[in-house]
Symmetry: C2
DNA sequence: TTCAATAGTATACAAATTGATACTAGATCA
DNA sequence: TGATCTAGTATCAATTTGTATACTATTGAA
């Protein structure tokens, strides 16, 4: 549902489900996690890779590009060698922080509980 | 990342990202939307279909089954013909409501703005 | 001089997720 | 008698996501 013109936007059945709209923006497989790690401040490409070692370079690139296209993250390139590129939440992206923090809170609470239950 | 034993759970790099954990539970393509429509109370299979006409029967079944497996929704079958099956948030599922409501709030606000911007 | 580091791109392929369509049973309605 | 309703299955196709590997340019360090 990436293409907003053929997906959500065209469906005229009602005025559109707000949750569906939100998921259209942050519903990518890794987007929530990436946004989470940007809350603290700008972060570099390879820092992401170290923090989430299970995401591949390709996926990281793709998800960051989509977030950039949607105006959620800013990408700043420093003309250095070796290259330095920093990703950070845009002003618009910052409006998503409450959602991400609710996810963090829930995860912290129930991750703990499920690891206890697993004993 | 459905299989918690091979996905999130096995990765021992740190104690695990809470947002990743949360997305492991509600990250399915339609789960957020389905949970949202259950907030108001129990809802039947075909009611979901009418409310979200773009979800296929198959996907609806699959996503509801996963939510059920994870203890997030209750499925109640009424022995009638034609059949009646109601889905509702479990007590555990209700702990996710704050996340869903944040998504709703955000969607309502920015859906409006983007439809204005589109003129 | 060769190696490491950075932030990627390119390519090929495998696996997982999602979608489209047709089909089912049994009661009720016309 | 045949159509309609419900809550699904079954099967196959298409899309998305993931894996693996090789490659780029430039600087600085060993």
């Amino acid at each position: 549902m990436r293409d907003r013109r053929s997906g959500y936007g065209e469906c005229p059945n009602e005025e559109g489900c707000p949750v569906e709209y939100t998921l259209d923006v942050i519903g990518g497989k890794w987007k929530g996690v990436l946004l989470y790690h940007m809350i603290e401040g700008p972060i570099r490409f390879n820092e992401f890779r170290r923090i989430c070692p299970t995401i591949t370079q390709r996926m990281l690139t793709l998800q960051l590009r989509e977030l950039e296209e949607d105006g959620i993250v800013n990408r700043e390139v420093y003309p250095q060698v070796p290259p330095k590129v920093e990703y950070s939440l845009s002003e618009f992206g910052s409006t998503l922080v409450p959602i991400i923090l609710e996810m963090k809170t829930w995860g912290e609470k129930h991750k703990k509980l499920s690891s206890i239950a697993a004993r």
